[in-house]
């Protein structure tokens, strides 16, 4: 059968962010899949080195538009560890509360996107409508729908009062009802099950080999959850289960996320019942003593890792961010081996990718010379042409035409 390469991205209706996948197809079968990230590098790590710790809390919050609290909490935890700050219990509870609300909004968002990718737009509309409930609650608690700005070094910036607690528990009750409905939909809707089960299979041994994290790993039966393994915030005092599933496929990932939603509701009610009284912040020094720390946080997409190195000034010397998508993106090629083109959007979506958050710069130094190589514009241009040629996409005819047109 005739083989051809289809470029999915950098601009494509299936993708919400710019990234590029080249798919070698034979009919509808995927023969080869390669991914290329890096279209949305923003230089956040470098920018962190130029700003004070307090400014960095807001900067790291903007790494991701969806799991913003995950990134700022992760950063703040690392800084607090270096500074040796013990934050108040009430602050820990509020952080955890916002973190769980964020997980709910992220998982509901994912559910809608997954529905859209398999052409089930009704699910998208319903899931996103219900997501508004949690978005409103987040706005009520923090003042913002996405970038909450609730974290600060040494605690949180806003307290919650009894009215808010009542609002949250009312909303959670409503959301629980809706989520139970979605669980029923996922278990009964035939076309949805047909599109999801058996698609994007990732065996437990591959999870371990490729280092997948979050729901992607848990849907293959690997119990890997930072909240349980290395409790932070209030998680050590909460009673919850790590949801796993042994379907190993996209259907399993759907069930895991829905199950996690139900666990989140449980955790939130516990937080609201047991939230201790007391201050919400301790005084943090402006200059953080020299030291380094690695902090881990279970973002909705998986384990999020921040590394902070301080040198005694009010600015960090180095900040390194590893978003969960970087750990999961390797699994996509494995999952797509010998699959249908129609499965590609949902398999990519099933790791709940966040490509813009993942884009980091790696400087490769030539060890022999000890210097980085400089590339001029022309070199870059010819390099990009060669890069695409090697993947079966030839732009040279198009370029000639373009030149002709320009003349």
């Amino acid at each position: 059968m005739h083989k051809f390469t289809v470029p999915i991205g950098p601009q494509h209706p299936a993708l919400k962010e710019p990234e590029s996948f080249n798919v070698l197809l034979s009919g509808e079968r995927i023969m080869k899949f390669s991914a290329r990230l890096g279209y949305n590098h923003r230089g956040i790590e470098k920018a962190c080195e130029e700003r004070t710790y307090i400014q960095n809390v807001y900067l790291t919050e903007r790494v991701c538009g969806i799991c913003s609290h995950a990134h700022s909490s992760c950063f703040v935890q690392a800084v607090e560890e270096i500074a040796g700050l013990e934050i108040p219990r009430r602050a820990n509870y509020i952080r955890t509360l916002v973190g769980e609300l964020e997980r709910i909004h992220s998982h509901l968002l994912w559910l809608g996107v997954a529905g859209h990718e398999v052409g089930f737009d009704t699910l998208l509309m319903y899931a996103w409508r219900d997501r508004e409930i949690v978005m409103d609650i987040l706005a009520k608690l923090t003042g913002n729908r996405v970038n909450y700005g609730i974290n600060t070094i040494g605690g949180v910036r806003r307290d919650i009062n009894t009215d808010q607690i009542k609002d949250v528990s009312k909303a959670v009750k409503k959301l629980k009802e809706r989520t139970e409905y979605y669980v029923r939909v996922a278990k009964e809707e035939v076309t949805l099950i047909k599109r999801l089960s058996g698609v994007g299979v990732l065996l437990p041994k591959d999870v371990l080999k490729l280092g997948a994290v979050g729901p992607t790993a848990r849907a293959s039966g690997i119990e890997r959850d930072t909240r349980k393994d290395d409790p932070y915030g209030a998680y050590g005092e909460l009673d919850f289960r790590v949801i796993t599933d042994d379907h190993n496929d996209v259907y399993g990932r759907t069930l895991v996320r829905l199950g996690e939603l139900l666990e989140s509701y449980k955790m939130i009610s516990q937080i609201l019942e047991n939230i201790p009284e007391g201050p919400i912040t301790v005084k943090a020094p402006r200059k953080i003593p020299a030291g380094e720390a690695v902090s881990r946080y279970e973002a909705p997409r998986g384990e999020n890792v921040h590394y902070v190195k301080s040198n005694g000034t009010d600015k960090p010397e180095r900040v390194k961010i590893r978003a969960p998508t970087l750990a999961n993106i390797q699994t996509v090629a494995k999952m797509l081996e010998d699959r249908n083109l129609a499965d590609l959007p949902i398999v990519i979506a099933a790791i709940d990718p966040c490509f813009s958050c993942t884009d980091r710069l790696t400087l490769v130094k030539d060890v022999g010379h000890g210097k980085g190589r400089k590339m001029r514009w022309e070199d870059l241009h010819s390099h990009s042409i060669q890069w695409y040629k090697a993947r079966g996409i030839d732009f040279s005819d198009l370029n000639k035409k373009m030149e002709k047109l320009l003349k």
């Binding site: 289809v6 398999v118 052409g119 009704t122 809707e189 047909k194 599109r195 249908n340 959007p345 035409k401």
Partner: protein
């Protein structure tokens, strides 16, 4: 002469079908939106879309075959409009009829699908080509169940003409109830013909952008859109004529209103069906059509044959 021109261009020809097709698109979109808990478009939205498309520039890809690229939307539109003339609407008799027009209508309804294939194929874009191949694969899957299930009512009436079928069912007003099973098979295959969820595989936007229509723009895309709207109407009218052939003989105005209600209720069924399903994969779709729909349409024919033995005589 003038009479024929009037019927071709005004009623029940181009103008009527265009207005009816656009209103059906509005009803479909509005209902789809309401079922999804959205507000939905205002009533003039399909017209506005069409005006916008017609006022835009046509872009023809350099690699494409311009003649085929331009001809295909027109072929699709003319084929769908022509097929409507053989369907009885306001009386027992269609505008034109002869023995065998049922086959002609089905053939003419296949032409748009073929034109989607050729249009996609000749636009030479990768996404269009994949969409085109999927269109054709899908055609081979749904066409047989559709044909078989439409054969059953014709067998009962012992004719190949839609008009004569209408006459027969007017004489035996309750016989249409025997064809209910065939109606559901035909309704599902109609979703495939109209490329709607769960069978919108040829234009699955998350996989292949817009499929066949990826390279189409401006007037040509507008013509394709219009032909799809009219195809919806013609497909629904065909189903109404074959499976709900009651009430045509009473009075023209009553019959025509009844016809509109029948067609719009089939359109509404299409909207509901496309709300509640996810898009299937092409292999699942072919499997479904041959494994479930084809046997059911055979079963319908068996039921009719068994009934004919002692009922109709």
């Amino acid at each position: 002469m003038i009479g024929s021109l009037l019927s071709i261009f005004i009623f029940p020809g181009f103008l009527f079908l265009m207005v009816f097709g656009l209103s059906a698109e509005f009803i479909d979109r509005k209902l789809y939106a309401r079922l999804q808990n959205r507000v939905g478009p205002p009533w003039f939205q399909p017209v506005a879309d069409l005006i916008k498309l017609f006022s835009k520039e046509d872009i023809i890809p350099e690699e494409a075959n311009p003649a085929m690229f331009k001809a295909m939307p027109i072929l699709a539109l003319t084929a769908t409009i022509t097929s409507f003339f053989y369907i009885p609407t306001w009386r027992n008799e269609a505008l034109y009829h002869f023995n065998g027009d049922l086959i002609i209508v089905l053939y003419l309804l296949t032409l748009p699908t073929l034109s989607y294939f050729l249009g996609g194929w000749y636009s030479t874009s990768l996404f269009s080509k994949i969409g085109a191949v999927r269109t054709l694969t899908q055609l081979f899957a749904y066409e047989v169940p559709l044909l078989m299930s439409i054969l059953a009512p014709a067998l009962l009436a012992d004719t190949w003409s839609l008009t004569e079928m209408a006459v027969f069912y007017s004489a035996h007003p309750w016989y249409w109830l025997f064809n209910i099973l065939g109606f559901f098979v035909a309704l599902i295959t109609l979703l495939g013909k109209l490329e709607k969820v769960p069978f919108d595989i040829p234009e699955a936007e998350t996989e292949i952008v817009a499929g066949t229509f990826t390279e189409y723009s401006g007037r040509l895309l507008g013509l394709f859109r219009l032909s799809m709207d009219i195809e919806l109407i013609v497909g629904a009218s065909l189903l109404a004529a074959v499976y709900m052939p009651f009430g045509l003989a009473i009075s023209p105005i009553f019959a025509f209103i009844l016809f509109l209600i029948k067609v719009l209720s089939i359109v509404a069924m299409v909207s509901v069906l496309r709300t509640v399903f996810a898009r299937l994969r092409i292999d699942q779709m072919v499997n479904f059509c041959w494994r479930y729909l084809a046997p059911f349409s055979f079963l319908q024919i068996l039921i009719i044959l068994a009934l004919k033995g002692f009922l109709v005589r």
